[in-house]
Symmetry: C2
Amino acid sequence: MSPSIGTLGEAALVARLRHRAGPPPDFVTLGIGDDAAVIAPERGRHTVATTDSLVEDVHFRRAWTPLHAVGHKALAVNLSDLAAMGASPRASLLSLALPRDLPIADFDALIDGFVSLAEAAGAPLVGGNLTRSPAPIVIDVTALGTVRPRRLLRREGTQDGDELYVTGALGAAAAGLALLAAGVDRASLDEAAAACVARYEQPDARVRCGQIVGRTGAASAAIDVSDGLADAARRLADAGGVGVVVDADALPVHAGVRDWTGRSGQDAIALALSGGEDYELAFAVRPRQRSKFLAALRRCAGLPVTRVGGFTAERGYWLDRAGARVPLPSGFAHF
Amino acid sequence: MSPSIGTLGEAALVARLRHRAGPPPDFVTLGIGDDAAVIAPERGRHTVATTDSLVEDVHFRRAWTPLHAVGHKALAVNLSDLAAMGASPRASLLSLALPRDLPIADFDALIDGFVSLAEAAGAPLVGGNLTRSPAPIVIDVTALGTVRPRRLLRREGTQDGDELYVTGALGAAAAGLALLAAGVDRASLDEAAAACVARYEQPDARVRCGQIVGRTGAASAAIDVSDGLADAARRLADAGGVGVVVDADALPVHAGVRDWTGRSGQDAIALALSGGEDYELAFAVRPRQRSKFLAALRRCAGLPVTRVGGFTAERGYWLDRAGARVPLPSGFAHF
C-alpha cells in the first residue's frame, strides 16, 4: 500500500505536481509556482475559457476506474467544450480537492493522466490549486483556448431547414459505464465492449474537427454532446428558436451498444440518445453549406459524421422512429 | 423552509444564475449559455489566470457563515491572487458542486454574493459549471485578468538586503474564525471583533494596490498573504534564494486580534504570523526603491503598509522578538 498524500504536505505535493508537469512552453510567461499563471496573447484571437468538474461517486468511482483515466477525462471534457467553439487549446488549470488518505500513487496517476493529455493536446498545465476534501475527490479543470472571432462556432444560429449532424458513434460511453457497473471482467471484454469502456474512461475531444469546421464557416451552430444527442439537439433548437426532429433509424449507434443492450434488454436507441458522455460534436448545417461541411469533415482524420435529423419552423422536439413521430426523450440530468 | 435545488433541475438553475448575473459587458464576446465563454483581448497585455476553491467544512461552515458571504469570499480569494501579480481583473468562471438538498434561497444567496463582488471588481461572471455533490458544497472559481508584461509582479526576484513590507493589518481573519468557532453572538460583538469576522467572511482583495505597485516597478517581488505572513515571507525568501528575518515588534496586528488573544490566552504574534486568510499583499523592496514604493502605496486609498522585516544572504527563516532571534513559525497547512 502506497503511503497517503496526508504524509507529504501541500508544498511537497505541489513540487511533485510541478515536476510531473515538466517545463512549460515559451508562450507561458509564468507557469506553476506563482500566485497565478501568465500567458502571452495570440494576435487577432480572442480568449476562450471553460470549466468543468468530475466529482467522485457522481462522475466516477475509484473502484471502477483507475485514476490515470480520471485525470485524462477531467481535461478531455473541458477540451470538448473548446472543440465545440472551434477553439485551439492553449493552457489548463487544475484545482484538486483531495481526501488526506489518498495514496500518493493515486495522486501521481491522476496527475500523469492529466499531464499526458495536456501535452498531447497543446494545453499545458500552467497552474492550479490543492486543498483538502472531507470526503470525495473533486477535480475542477479550467481550459483556456483561443479563436479568431470570425471562426468561432456558437450554440446560437440554427435556422428552420438546417440539417443536424453528429460526429463519431453514440452511446459507447453509456454502454461502457453500464458494463463497469455490472461488474464485468475487463480482461474478458470483446473489442466493441472494450472500446465502450475506453470511450467512457478516456474520451477524445474532437478538437481538430471543431477547428476545421469553424474555419470553413459551414456550420450554423455547434455544441458538444455531453449529455446525450437528445439534449444537444434540444439545445441547438432552443438557441435558434426552432424545433427539431431526430431520425432514430439514422443514429450512428456504436457497435458495443447493440451488444450490451441486446444482453441487458435495454433500448439501444434510448441509450444512444440519452446516455450521455459521448463528447462528440453536433452541428446544424444549412442545406446549401452541406457539401462544404462534408468536405471539411473529410479532413477530420477519419472521424465519421452522420446526418441524424433536421430543424423545423414549428417549435418542439420529436423523434421519427419506424415511421412514427414520438416526443424526443430528454438528455442525462445532473440534478 | 425554501424548497431545494433538486426540485428545479440543472437548466432552471443555470437560467436562474444567468438572470442574477445580468448582461455581460461589451468585451465579453460570448457569456453564460454556450459551451465556453469568449473574451476579447486587450492590446499589449498578457492573460493572467488563477483558480482557487472553497470546500464546505474545510474552508467554511454553513452553520457559521451565510452563503452570500461564502459566494463573495470564493471570488475574493482569487482576486487576491490577481492582485499579487499586479493584474487587472477581466472575468470570472464559477464551478459549483452542490448537494441536491441545498435550499434554493441558499443557492441564490451564494450567486448574489459572488455576482455583486464580480461586478464591483470588474470580473464579470462569464461561465461555469453546475454539478451534483454527494456531500459538501465545493465552489471552484477561476479568475482571469490581464497585465502588461513589464508591470507584472512575480514571487521570484527577492535579493539579499531587500526589505519586507505587508499591507493592512494581520490576524483579523484568524481571530474572526476563532470568534465564530467559539459560538459568539454576532449581535454582541464590539467594533474590532466585528471587523475580524467581516475580514474572515468577506475579505477585500488588494487589487488596486497590486496594480499601482506593479506599475511603478518598485517591488522586487510580491505574494498574497493567504496562509499567514510567516508562510508568505518564507516563500518570497525561497523564490529568491535568500533568508528572511521577520520583526515581531513591527507586525501590524489587528486590534481585534489583541482583544481575542487577551481573552483566549493565545499569542497574538503567533496568530498574526500563522493564522492565515489575511489576503493582504507582501512585498520585497530594495532599499533604493523604498521611497518610490511608499509613494505608490500612498495612492492605495488609505491602505496602510508596514515594514516587517528584511531578507538576508544567509538562508533560513527567523523571527526577531523582544531582542532574541528564534525560528520563524510555519504558515497555515492545508494537508
